[in-house]
Amino acid sequence: MKKILVGLKRVVDYNVRVRVRSDGSGVDTDGVKMSINPFDEIALEEALRMRERGDAEEIVVVSIGPAEAQQQLRTGLAMGADRAILIKTDADVDSLSAARILLEIVGRESPDLVIVGKQAIDNDNIQTGQMLATLWGRPQATFASKIEVGDAKLTVTREVDVGLETIEVELPAVVTADLRLNEPRYVKLPDIMKAKKKPLDEIGIGELDVSMDDSIRTVAWEPPPERQKGVMVEDVAGLVAALKEKGLA
Protein backbone atom coordinates (compact mmCIF):
# COMPACT_ATOMS: atom_id res chain seq x y z
CA MET A 1 0.00 0.00 0.00
CA LYS A 2 1.21 3.48 -0.77
CA LYS A 3 -0.86 5.46 1.66
CA ILE A 4 -2.90 4.95 4.80
CA LEU A 5 -5.21 7.61 6.21
CA VAL A 6 -5.95 7.51 9.95
CA GLY A 7 -8.71 9.47 11.69
CA LEU A 8 -7.75 11.02 15.04
CA LYS A 9 -10.52 12.59 17.07
CA ARG A 10 -9.82 14.90 19.98
CA VAL A 11 -11.97 13.73 22.89
CA VAL A 12 -12.19 14.07 26.67
CA ASP A 13 -9.57 11.73 28.15
CA TYR A 14 -11.01 8.35 29.11
CA ASN A 15 -9.96 8.80 32.76
CA VAL A 16 -12.11 11.89 33.18
CA ARG A 17 -15.55 11.34 34.65
CA VAL A 18 -17.60 13.89 32.76
CA ARG A 19 -20.60 15.56 34.29
CA VAL A 20 -23.69 17.31 33.06
CA ARG A 21 -23.63 21.08 33.70
CA SER A 22 -25.77 21.95 36.69
CA ASP A 23 -28.22 23.88 34.49
CA GLY A 24 -28.59 20.85 32.20
CA SER A 25 -27.35 22.79 29.17
CA GLY A 26 -24.69 20.33 28.14
CA VAL A 27 -21.64 18.44 29.26
CA ASP A 28 -19.07 20.22 31.38
CA THR A 29 -15.79 19.94 29.49
CA ASP A 30 -14.18 23.16 30.73
CA GLY A 31 -10.54 22.63 31.56
CA VAL A 32 -10.70 18.82 31.39
CA LYS A 33 -7.86 16.81 29.92
CA MET A 34 -8.23 16.11 26.20
CA SER A 35 -6.59 13.22 24.36
CA ILE A 36 -6.61 11.24 21.15
CA ASN A 37 -9.62 8.92 21.18
CA PRO A 38 -8.09 5.66 22.49
CA PHE A 39 -9.34 3.58 19.57
CA ASP A 40 -7.75 6.06 17.15
CA GLU A 41 -4.39 5.58 18.85
CA ILE A 42 -4.79 1.88 18.18
CA ALA A 43 -5.72 2.66 14.56
CA LEU A 44 -2.58 4.73 14.14
CA GLU A 45 -0.38 2.13 15.84
CA GLU A 46 -1.61 -0.49 13.37
CA ALA A 47 -0.80 1.77 10.42
CA LEU A 48 2.68 2.40 11.82
CA ARG A 49 3.31 -1.33 12.18
CA MET A 50 2.21 -1.86 8.58
CA ARG A 51 4.71 0.74 7.44
CA GLU A 52 7.45 -0.76 9.60
CA ARG A 53 6.79 -4.18 8.05
CA GLY A 54 7.02 -2.66 4.57
CA ASP A 55 3.29 -3.03 3.87
CA ALA A 56 2.74 0.73 3.61
CA GLU A 57 4.76 3.79 2.64
CA GLU A 58 3.05 6.89 3.97
CA ILE A 59 0.73 7.56 6.87
CA VAL A 60 -1.45 10.65 7.03
CA VAL A 61 -3.41 11.51 10.18
CA VAL A 62 -6.58 13.58 9.88
CA SER A 63 -8.59 15.34 12.52
CA ILE A 64 -11.79 17.34 12.22
CA GLY A 65 -12.07 19.72 15.12
CA PRO A 66 -11.00 22.97 16.76
CA ALA A 67 -7.54 24.55 16.41
CA GLU A 68 -6.53 22.76 19.61
CA ALA A 69 -6.83 19.40 17.82
CA GLN A 70 -3.36 20.28 16.52
CA GLN A 71 -2.11 18.86 19.83
CA GLN A 72 -3.55 15.45 19.07
CA LEU A 73 -2.21 15.58 15.51
CA ARG A 74 1.25 16.50 16.84
CA THR A 75 1.06 13.51 19.15
CA GLY A 76 0.15 11.39 16.12
CA LEU A 77 3.16 12.76 14.26
CA ALA A 78 5.34 12.04 17.28
CA MET A 79 4.08 8.46 17.29
CA GLY A 80 5.35 8.24 13.72
CA ALA A 81 2.78 9.54 11.21
CA ASP A 82 4.35 11.33 8.21
CA ARG A 83 1.86 14.14 7.72
CA ALA A 84 -1.18 15.64 9.38
CA ILE A 85 -4.29 17.41 8.16
CA LEU A 86 -6.58 19.47 10.40
CA ILE A 87 -10.05 20.28 9.14
CA LYS A 88 -10.80 23.24 11.33
CA THR A 89 -14.25 23.76 12.83
CA ASP A 90 -15.58 24.77 16.23
CA ALA A 91 -18.86 22.99 15.57
CA ASP A 92 -19.74 19.63 17.08
CA VAL A 93 -19.19 17.23 14.22
CA ASP A 94 -21.75 14.44 13.83
CA SER A 95 -20.75 11.10 12.34
CA LEU A 96 -22.34 11.54 8.92
CA SER A 97 -20.70 14.93 8.47
CA ALA A 98 -17.38 13.50 9.67
CA ALA A 99 -17.74 10.72 7.09
CA ARG A 100 -18.52 13.27 4.34
CA ILE A 101 -15.49 15.34 5.30
CA LEU A 102 -13.23 12.30 5.44
CA LEU A 103 -14.55 11.33 2.00
CA GLU A 104 -13.40 14.73 0.69
CA ILE A 105 -9.94 14.06 2.08
CA VAL A 106 -10.00 10.56 0.61
CA GLY A 107 -10.76 12.20 -2.74
CA ARG A 108 -7.72 14.43 -2.44
CA GLU A 109 -5.32 11.85 -1.00
CA SER A 110 -6.44 8.59 -2.67
CA PRO A 111 -5.37 6.31 0.20
CA ASP A 112 -5.38 2.51 -0.18
CA LEU A 113 -6.69 2.12 3.33
CA VAL A 114 -8.44 4.25 5.94
CA ILE A 115 -8.26 3.15 9.57
CA VAL A 116 -10.45 4.83 12.17
CA GLY A 117 -11.41 3.92 15.71
CA LYS A 118 -14.42 1.69 16.21
CA GLN A 119 -16.01 4.32 18.42
CA ALA A 120 -15.43 7.83 19.64
CA ILE A 121 -15.66 7.63 23.43
CA ASP A 122 -17.43 10.98 23.71
CA ASN A 123 -20.56 10.38 21.64
CA ASP A 124 -20.21 6.57 21.53
CA ASN A 125 -21.76 6.71 18.06
CA ILE A 126 -19.93 3.83 16.32
CA GLN A 127 -20.85 5.06 12.85
CA THR A 128 -18.20 7.10 11.09
CA GLY A 129 -16.09 4.30 9.58
CA GLN A 130 -19.10 2.41 8.26
CA MET A 131 -20.56 5.62 6.80
CA LEU A 132 -17.30 6.58 5.13
CA ALA A 133 -17.01 3.12 3.57
CA THR A 134 -20.58 3.38 2.29
CA LEU A 135 -20.28 6.88 0.83
CA TRP A 136 -16.98 5.82 -0.77
CA GLY A 137 -18.60 2.66 -2.17
CA ARG A 138 -15.91 0.50 -0.55
CA PRO A 139 -15.86 -2.44 1.89
CA GLN A 140 -15.65 -2.10 5.65
CA ALA A 141 -14.08 -4.32 8.27
CA THR A 142 -15.33 -3.12 11.65
CA PHE A 143 -14.13 -4.01 15.17
CA ALA A 144 -10.83 -5.42 13.87
CA SER A 145 -8.65 -7.39 16.27
CA LYS A 146 -6.20 -8.63 13.60
CA ILE A 147 -5.30 -7.44 10.11
CA GLU A 148 -3.23 -9.33 7.54
CA VAL A 149 -2.17 -7.45 4.45
CA GLY A 150 -2.47 -9.46 1.23
CA ASP A 151 -2.28 -8.69 -2.44
CA ALA A 152 -4.73 -5.80 -3.01
CA LYS A 153 -6.80 -7.16 -0.13
CA LEU A 154 -6.89 -7.51 3.64
CA THR A 155 -7.84 -10.46 5.78
CA VAL A 156 -9.41 -9.06 8.92
CA THR A 157 -10.45 -10.81 12.12
CA ARG A 158 -13.38 -9.03 13.72
CA GLU A 159 -14.78 -9.16 17.25
CA VAL A 160 -18.41 -10.28 17.05
CA ASP A 161 -20.86 -11.33 19.77
CA VAL A 162 -20.22 -15.06 19.51
CA GLY A 163 -16.44 -14.89 19.04
CA LEU A 164 -14.26 -13.94 16.11
CA GLU A 165 -15.24 -13.58 12.47
CA THR A 166 -12.72 -13.46 9.65
CA ILE A 167 -13.51 -11.65 6.42
CA GLU A 168 -11.57 -10.64 3.33
CA VAL A 169 -11.98 -7.16 1.87
CA GLU A 170 -10.64 -5.74 -1.38
CA LEU A 171 -8.60 -2.54 -1.16
CA PRO A 172 -9.22 0.30 -0.87
CA ALA A 173 -11.20 -0.30 2.28
CA VAL A 174 -12.10 1.15 5.66
CA VAL A 175 -11.11 -0.68 8.84
CA THR A 176 -12.28 0.26 12.34
CA ALA A 177 -9.95 -0.64 15.21
CA ASP A 178 -11.03 -2.57 18.30
CA LEU A 179 -9.14 -2.68 21.61
CA ARG A 180 -7.24 -5.90 21.04
CA LEU A 181 -5.76 -4.96 17.65
CA ASN A 182 -2.52 -3.85 19.34
CA GLU A 183 -1.06 -1.86 22.22
CA PRO A 184 -0.07 1.63 21.11
CA ARG A 185 3.53 2.74 21.69
CA TYR A 186 4.53 5.50 24.06
CA VAL A 187 5.83 8.69 22.55
CA LYS A 188 9.47 9.51 23.35
CA LEU A 189 10.79 13.01 23.86
CA PRO A 190 13.08 13.12 20.78
CA ASP A 191 10.09 12.07 18.67
CA ILE A 192 8.11 15.02 20.00
CA MET A 193 10.92 17.34 18.88
CA LYS A 194 11.08 15.71 15.45
CA ALA A 195 7.31 15.90 15.06
CA LYS A 196 7.46 19.70 15.24
CA LYS A 197 9.12 19.73 11.82
CA LYS A 198 6.61 17.42 10.16
CA PRO A 199 3.97 19.02 7.91
CA LEU A 200 0.57 19.84 9.43
CA ASP A 201 -1.87 21.34 6.91
CA GLU A 202 -4.91 23.27 8.02
CA ILE A 203 -8.04 23.42 5.94
CA GLY A 204 -11.00 25.57 6.93
CA ILE A 205 -14.19 23.60 6.82
CA GLY A 206 -15.63 26.26 4.51
CA GLU A 207 -13.03 25.34 1.88
CA LEU A 208 -14.51 21.88 1.53
CA ASP A 209 -17.52 21.06 -0.58
CA VAL A 210 -19.53 19.39 2.19
CA SER A 211 -22.82 20.15 3.87
CA MET A 212 -23.11 19.41 7.56
CA ASP A 213 -26.00 17.20 8.59
CA ASP A 214 -28.40 18.68 11.13
CA SER A 215 -31.14 16.07 11.14
CA ILE A 216 -30.49 14.99 14.74
CA ARG A 217 -30.48 17.62 17.50
CA THR A 218 -29.65 17.08 21.16
CA VAL A 219 -32.31 18.84 23.22
CA ALA A 220 -31.53 17.72 26.79
CA TRP A 221 -28.69 16.41 28.91
CA GLU A 222 -29.10 14.65 32.25
CA PRO A 223 -27.04 12.49 34.58
CA PRO A 224 -27.87 8.78 34.57
CA PRO A 225 -30.19 7.51 37.30
CA GLU A 226 -28.22 6.82 40.48
CA ARG A 227 -28.24 3.30 41.87
CA GLN A 228 -29.44 3.06 45.46
CA LYS A 229 -26.59 2.72 47.93
CA GLY A 230 -26.24 -0.95 48.82
CA VAL A 231 -25.29 -2.86 51.94
CA MET A 232 -21.92 -4.23 53.02
CA VAL A 233 -21.97 -7.71 54.52
CA GLU A 234 -19.38 -9.23 56.85
CA ASP A 235 -19.12 -12.75 55.52
CA VAL A 236 -20.55 -15.39 53.20
CA ALA A 237 -23.45 -16.12 55.56
CA GLY A 238 -24.38 -12.43 55.49
CA LEU A 239 -24.15 -12.41 51.70
CA VAL A 240 -26.43 -15.41 51.32
CA ALA A 241 -28.90 -13.91 53.81
CA ALA A 242 -28.97 -10.65 51.83
CA LEU A 243 -29.58 -12.60 48.61
CA LYS A 244 -32.37 -14.61 50.28
CA GLU A 245 -34.02 -11.38 51.39
CA LYS A 246 -34.18 -10.31 47.73
CA GLY A 247 -35.48 -13.72 46.72
CA LEU A 248 -32.28 -14.44 44.82
CA ALA A 249 -30.98 -17.43 46.74
Binding site: T142, R217, G230
Partner: protein, 314 residues
Protein backbone atom coordinates in the same frame (compact mmCIF):
# COMPACT_ATOMS: atom_id res chain seq x y z
CA UNK B 1 -48.24 7.19 11.17
CA UNK B 2 -44.93 5.54 11.99
CA UNK B 3 -44.05 2.55 9.83
CA UNK B 4 -41.09 0.76 11.34
CA UNK B 5 -38.86 -1.82 9.67
CA UNK B 6 -36.77 -3.98 11.98
CA UNK B 7 -33.72 -5.78 10.60
CA UNK B 8 -33.69 -9.28 12.07
CA UNK B 9 -30.45 -10.66 13.46
CA UNK B 10 -30.10 -14.43 13.17
CA UNK B 11 -27.50 -17.14 12.74
CA UNK B 12 -29.23 -18.96 9.90
CA UNK B 13 -31.12 -21.34 12.15
CA UNK B 14 -32.70 -19.18 14.87
CA UNK B 15 -33.58 -15.54 15.47
CA UNK B 16 -31.42 -13.64 17.92
CA UNK B 17 -33.31 -12.53 21.08
CA UNK B 18 -32.52 -8.96 20.01
CA UNK B 19 -35.35 -9.10 17.44
CA UNK B 20 -38.10 -9.33 20.08
CA UNK B 21 -36.40 -6.53 22.04
CA UNK B 22 -36.35 -4.27 18.98
CA UNK B 23 -40.07 -4.99 18.55
CA UNK B 24 -40.69 -3.90 22.17
CA UNK B 25 -38.82 -0.67 21.52
CA UNK B 26 -40.71 -0.01 18.29
CA UNK B 27 -44.05 -0.76 19.98
CA UNK B 28 -43.39 2.16 22.33
CA UNK B 29 -44.17 4.48 19.41
CA UNK B 30 -47.93 5.04 19.47
CA UNK B 31 -49.80 3.45 16.60
CA UNK B 32 -46.65 2.18 14.95
CA UNK B 33 -46.94 -0.49 12.30
CA UNK B 34 -44.03 -2.86 12.78
CA UNK B 35 -42.56 -5.04 10.04
CA UNK B 36 -39.54 -7.33 10.35
CA UNK B 37 -37.14 -7.99 7.47
CA UNK B 38 -35.55 -11.45 7.52
CA UNK B 39 -32.60 -11.67 5.15
CA UNK B 40 -31.56 -15.28 4.59
CA UNK B 41 -31.02 -17.85 1.85
CA UNK B 42 -34.16 -19.78 2.72
CA UNK B 43 -35.82 -17.83 5.49
CA UNK B 44 -39.17 -19.60 5.82
CA UNK B 45 -38.55 -20.96 9.32
CA UNK B 46 -36.90 -17.74 10.54
CA UNK B 47 -39.76 -15.68 9.10
CA UNK B 48 -42.20 -17.96 10.92
CA UNK B 49 -40.35 -17.27 14.15
CA UNK B 50 -40.56 -13.51 13.56
CA UNK B 51 -44.26 -13.73 12.66
CA UNK B 52 -44.93 -15.20 16.07
CA UNK B 53 -43.67 -12.10 17.90
CA UNK B 54 -46.53 -10.02 19.29
CA UNK B 55 -46.73 -6.55 17.81
CA UNK B 56 -45.40 -7.53 14.39
CA UNK B 57 -47.66 -6.69 11.45
CA UNK B 58 -45.75 -8.23 8.55
CA UNK B 59 -42.58 -10.22 8.00
CA UNK B 60 -40.64 -9.56 4.82
CA UNK B 61 -38.89 -12.77 3.86
CA UNK B 62 -35.97 -11.67 1.71
CA UNK B 63 -34.30 -14.76 0.29
CA UNK B 64 -31.06 -14.25 -1.60
CA UNK B 65 -28.00 -16.44 -2.18
CA UNK B 66 -25.82 -13.57 -0.87
CA UNK B 67 -27.51 -13.87 2.54
CA UNK B 68 -25.79 -17.12 3.43
CA UNK B 69 -23.73 -14.98 5.81
CA UNK B 70 -25.12 -11.58 6.64
CA UNK B 71 -22.39 -9.11 5.79
CA UNK B 72 -22.98 -5.37 6.13
CA UNK B 73 -21.69 -4.78 2.60
CA UNK B 74 -24.45 -6.87 1.01
CA UNK B 75 -27.20 -6.64 3.64
CA UNK B 76 -27.24 -2.82 3.78
CA UNK B 77 -28.24 -2.22 0.14
CA UNK B 78 -31.02 -4.80 0.43
CA UNK B 79 -32.47 -3.15 3.53
CA UNK B 80 -32.02 0.34 2.10
CA UNK B 81 -33.99 -0.69 -0.99
CA UNK B 82 -36.89 -1.71 1.25
CA UNK B 83 -36.72 1.44 3.37
CA UNK B 84 -38.65 3.72 1.00
CA UNK B 85 -41.96 2.56 2.49
CA UNK B 86 -40.89 3.14 6.07
CA UNK B 87 -40.46 6.12 8.38
CA UNK B 88 -38.12 4.20 10.73
CA UNK B 89 -35.50 1.46 10.33
CA UNK B 90 -34.39 -0.21 13.58
CA UNK B 91 -31.71 -2.77 14.34
CA UNK B 92 -30.13 -4.03 17.57
CA UNK B 93 -27.05 -2.44 19.14
CA UNK B 94 -25.31 -5.81 19.05
CA UNK B 95 -22.11 -6.19 17.04
CA UNK B 96 -24.31 -7.22 14.09
CA UNK B 97 -26.39 -4.05 14.26
CA UNK B 98 -23.45 -1.78 15.04
CA UNK B 99 -21.73 -3.02 11.89
CA UNK B 100 -24.76 -2.92 9.62
CA UNK B 101 -27.07 -0.06 10.62
CA UNK B 102 -24.70 2.89 9.94
CA UNK B 103 -24.20 1.50 6.45
CA UNK B 104 -27.96 1.58 5.93
CA UNK B 105 -28.12 5.10 7.39
CA UNK B 106 -25.41 6.31 5.02
CA UNK B 107 -27.21 4.82 2.01
CA UNK B 108 -30.33 6.70 3.13
CA UNK B 109 -28.20 9.80 3.72
CA UNK B 110 -29.13 10.29 7.37
CA UNK B 111 -27.34 10.11 10.70
CA UNK B 112 -28.15 7.23 13.00
CA UNK B 113 -29.58 7.41 16.51
CA UNK B 114 -27.28 4.98 18.32
CA UNK B 115 -28.39 2.98 21.35
CA UNK B 116 -32.00 4.02 21.99
CA UNK B 117 -32.66 3.41 25.69
CA UNK B 118 -36.03 5.14 25.91
CA UNK B 119 -38.70 6.28 23.47
CA UNK B 120 -40.30 9.70 24.11
CA UNK B 121 -42.09 10.01 20.77
CA UNK B 122 -41.77 8.98 17.12
CA UNK B 123 -38.81 11.33 16.65
CA UNK B 124 -37.64 11.75 20.24
CA UNK B 125 -35.38 9.32 22.05
CA UNK B 126 -33.04 9.00 25.01
CA UNK B 127 -29.57 7.55 24.57
CA UNK B 128 -26.37 7.28 26.60
CA UNK B 129 -23.10 9.03 25.73
CA UNK B 130 -19.72 9.21 27.52
CA UNK B 131 -19.90 5.54 28.54
CA UNK B 132 -23.31 6.10 30.08
CA UNK B 133 -22.20 9.01 32.29
CA UNK B 134 -24.58 11.30 30.46
CA UNK B 135 -28.03 10.61 29.05
CA UNK B 136 -29.16 12.82 26.20
CA UNK B 137 -32.51 13.39 24.56
CA UNK B 138 -32.26 13.63 20.79
CA UNK B 139 -34.80 14.87 18.29
CA UNK B 140 -34.76 13.73 14.69
CA UNK B 141 -36.08 16.26 12.16
CA UNK B 142 -39.72 15.62 11.21
CA UNK B 143 -38.98 15.16 7.54
CA UNK B 144 -36.06 12.80 8.16
CA UNK B 145 -36.14 9.02 8.20
CA UNK B 146 -35.14 7.59 11.56
CA UNK B 147 -32.39 4.97 11.41
CA UNK B 148 -31.51 3.68 14.86
CA UNK B 149 -29.96 0.95 16.93
CA UNK B 150 -31.83 -0.26 20.00
CA UNK B 151 -29.97 -0.75 23.27
CA UNK B 152 -31.20 -4.28 23.89
CA UNK B 153 -30.51 -4.19 27.66
CA UNK B 154 -33.14 -1.45 28.00
CA UNK B 155 -36.06 -3.45 26.62
CA UNK B 156 -37.80 -6.69 27.56
CA UNK B 157 -38.38 -9.13 24.72
CA UNK B 158 -41.87 -8.88 23.20
CA UNK B 159 -43.95 -12.00 23.84
CA UNK B 160 -44.82 -14.61 21.27
CA UNK B 161 -48.25 -15.87 20.24
CA UNK B 162 -48.80 -13.82 17.09
CA UNK B 163 -49.38 -14.97 13.52
CA UNK B 164 -48.27 -12.07 11.33
CA UNK B 165 -48.40 -12.23 7.55
CA UNK B 166 -45.22 -13.41 5.81
CA UNK B 167 -44.52 -11.67 2.53
CA UNK B 168 -41.94 -13.08 0.12
CA UNK B 169 -39.94 -10.05 -0.97
CA UNK B 170 -37.49 -9.60 -3.83
CA UNK B 171 -34.87 -6.91 -3.78
CA UNK B 172 -33.85 -6.40 -7.35
CA UNK B 173 -30.49 -4.74 -6.86
CA UNK B 174 -26.90 -5.45 -7.66
CA UNK B 175 -24.80 -6.40 -4.63
CA UNK B 176 -21.08 -5.64 -4.28
CA UNK B 177 -18.57 -8.51 -4.35
CA UNK B 178 -15.73 -6.75 -2.51
CA UNK B 179 -16.30 -8.46 0.85
CA UNK B 180 -15.95 -12.18 1.47
CA UNK B 181 -16.81 -14.21 4.56
CA UNK B 182 -13.95 -16.57 5.47
CA UNK B 183 -14.85 -18.14 8.81
CA UNK B 184 -16.44 -17.80 12.23
CA UNK B 185 -14.71 -19.00 15.37
CA UNK B 186 -17.48 -19.19 17.92
CA UNK B 187 -16.91 -19.93 21.58
CA UNK B 188 -18.53 -22.97 23.18
CA UNK B 189 -22.22 -22.51 23.87
CA UNK B 190 -23.15 -25.09 26.50
CA UNK B 191 -23.44 -22.36 29.16
CA UNK B 192 -26.27 -19.81 29.33
CA UNK B 193 -25.91 -16.93 26.88
CA UNK B 194 -24.22 -13.92 28.49
CA UNK B 195 -26.54 -11.43 26.82
CA UNK B 196 -29.81 -12.98 27.94
CA UNK B 197 -28.95 -14.91 31.14
CA UNK B 198 -30.85 -14.06 34.33
CA UNK B 199 -27.66 -14.60 36.35
CA UNK B 200 -24.11 -13.67 35.41
CA UNK B 201 -20.87 -14.31 37.28
CA UNK B 202 -17.98 -12.14 36.09
CA UNK B 203 -14.32 -12.37 37.01
CA UNK B 204 -11.57 -9.80 36.70
CA UNK B 205 -7.83 -9.44 36.95
CA UNK B 206 -8.11 -10.49 40.58
CA UNK B 207 -8.38 -14.11 39.40
CA UNK B 208 -4.75 -14.00 38.39
CA UNK B 209 -4.61 -16.69 35.69
CA UNK B 210 -6.65 -18.72 33.22
CA UNK B 211 -6.35 -21.76 35.50
CA UNK B 212 -7.68 -19.91 38.50
CA UNK B 213 -10.48 -18.40 36.40
CA UNK B 214 -11.92 -21.95 36.42
CA UNK B 215 -13.18 -21.04 39.88
CA UNK B 216 -15.56 -18.56 38.22
CA UNK B 217 -16.79 -21.13 35.68
CA UNK B 218 -17.28 -23.65 38.46
CA UNK B 219 -19.30 -21.27 40.64
CA UNK B 220 -21.32 -20.02 37.66
CA UNK B 221 -22.19 -23.58 36.63
CA UNK B 222 -23.31 -24.38 40.17
CA UNK B 223 -25.93 -21.61 40.09
CA UNK B 224 -26.81 -21.89 36.38
CA UNK B 225 -25.25 -18.54 35.53
CA UNK B 226 -23.51 -17.23 32.41
CA UNK B 227 -19.86 -16.20 32.70
CA UNK B 228 -18.55 -12.71 31.98
CA UNK B 229 -15.25 -10.91 32.47
CA UNK B 230 -13.59 -7.53 32.69
CA UNK B 231 -11.40 -6.27 29.90
CA UNK B 232 -8.31 -6.83 32.02
CA UNK B 233 -9.22 -10.52 32.35
CA UNK B 234 -9.73 -10.81 28.60
CA UNK B 235 -6.54 -8.92 27.76
CA UNK B 236 -4.59 -11.14 30.13
CA UNK B 237 -5.87 -14.14 28.21
CA UNK B 238 -7.90 -15.72 31.04
CA UNK B 239 -11.01 -15.90 28.81
CA UNK B 240 -11.96 -15.15 25.18
CA UNK B 241 -13.07 -11.69 24.05
CA UNK B 242 -16.76 -12.54 23.68
CA UNK B 243 -17.07 -12.70 27.48
CA UNK B 244 -16.11 -9.05 27.97
CA UNK B 245 -18.71 -6.93 29.74
CA UNK B 246 -18.63 -3.15 29.43
CA UNK B 247 -18.54 -0.11 27.18
CA UNK B 248 -16.65 -2.00 24.51
CA UNK B 249 -17.97 -5.44 25.37
CA UNK B 250 -21.48 -6.55 26.12
CA UNK B 251 -24.11 -4.39 27.78
CA UNK B 252 -26.20 -6.72 29.89
CA UNK B 253 -29.16 -6.60 32.27
CA UNK B 254 -29.30 -9.82 34.33
CA UNK B 255 -31.41 -10.06 37.50
CA UNK B 256 -28.27 -10.95 39.46
CA UNK B 257 -24.68 -9.97 38.67
CA UNK B 258 -21.56 -11.05 40.56
CA UNK B 259 -18.44 -8.90 40.07
CA UNK B 260 -15.56 -10.92 41.49
CA UNK B 261 -12.03 -9.50 41.59
CA UNK B 262 -13.18 -6.58 39.44
CA UNK B 263 -12.28 -3.05 40.51
CA UNK B 264 -15.30 -1.34 38.92
CA UNK B 265 -13.79 0.92 36.24
CA UNK B 266 -16.32 3.21 34.61
CA UNK B 267 -16.02 1.30 31.31
CA UNK B 268 -16.98 -1.92 33.08
CA UNK B 269 -19.87 -0.34 35.00
CA UNK B 270 -21.36 0.90 31.73
CA UNK B 271 -22.10 -2.71 30.90
CA UNK B 272 -24.05 -3.52 34.07
CA UNK B 273 -26.03 -0.35 34.82
CA UNK B 274 -29.30 -2.18 34.20
CA UNK B 275 -28.52 -5.25 36.29
CA UNK B 276 -31.13 -5.98 38.97
CA UNK B 277 -28.83 -6.78 41.88
CA UNK B 278 -25.05 -6.30 41.77
CA UNK B 279 -22.93 -8.32 44.19
CA UNK B 280 -19.28 -7.30 44.54
CA UNK B 281 -16.55 -9.41 46.07
CA UNK B 282 -13.19 -7.67 46.32
CA UNK B 283 -10.34 -7.65 48.81
CA UNK B 284 -9.90 -3.88 48.53
CA UNK B 285 -12.52 -2.06 50.66
CA UNK B 286 -11.95 1.09 48.60
CA UNK B 287 -12.60 -0.55 45.23
CA UNK B 288 -15.03 1.65 43.25
CA UNK B 289 -17.23 -1.38 42.53
CA UNK B 290 -18.57 -1.07 46.08
CA UNK B 291 -20.08 2.33 45.20
CA UNK B 292 -22.53 0.69 42.82
CA UNK B 293 -22.91 -2.73 44.42
CA UNK B 294 -26.21 -3.63 46.09
CA UNK B 295 -24.40 -6.17 48.23
CA UNK B 296 -20.69 -5.86 48.93
CA UNK B 297 -18.31 -8.28 50.62
CA UNK B 298 -14.69 -7.39 51.36
CA UNK B 299 -12.61 -10.53 51.25
CA UNK B 300 -10.23 -12.79 49.38
CA UNK B 301 -12.17 -14.30 46.51
CA UNK B 302 -10.22 -17.55 46.72
CA UNK B 303 -11.57 -18.07 50.23
CA UNK B 304 -15.04 -16.64 49.58
CA UNK B 305 -16.09 -18.35 46.35
CA UNK B 306 -15.84 -22.00 47.44
CA UNK B 307 -17.78 -21.13 50.63
CA UNK B 308 -20.36 -19.20 48.64
CA UNK B 309 -20.82 -22.07 46.22
CA UNK B 310 -21.48 -24.42 49.08
CA UNK B 311 -23.80 -22.01 50.90
CA UNK B 312 -25.88 -21.35 47.78
CA UNK B 313 -26.20 -25.05 47.05
CA UNK B 314 -27.80 -25.76 50.40
Amino acid sequence: MARILIVAEHDGSALNPSVAKCVSCAARIDGAEIDVAVLATDGAALAGEAAAIKGVTRVLQVDHAANDRLLAATAAPQVASLAADYSHVFGPSTMFGKDLMPRIAALLNVNQVSDIMDVLGPHRFKRPIYAGNVIITVEVADDSKVVATVRTASFQAAETGNDAAIVATQTDIELPAHTKFIRLDAGSTDRPDLQTAARVVSGGRGLGSAEKFELIFDFADSIGAAVGASRAAVDAGYVPNELQVGQTGKIIAPDLYFAIGISGAIQHLTGIKDAGTIVAINKDPDAPIFEVADIGLVGDLFGVIPQLKEAMAS
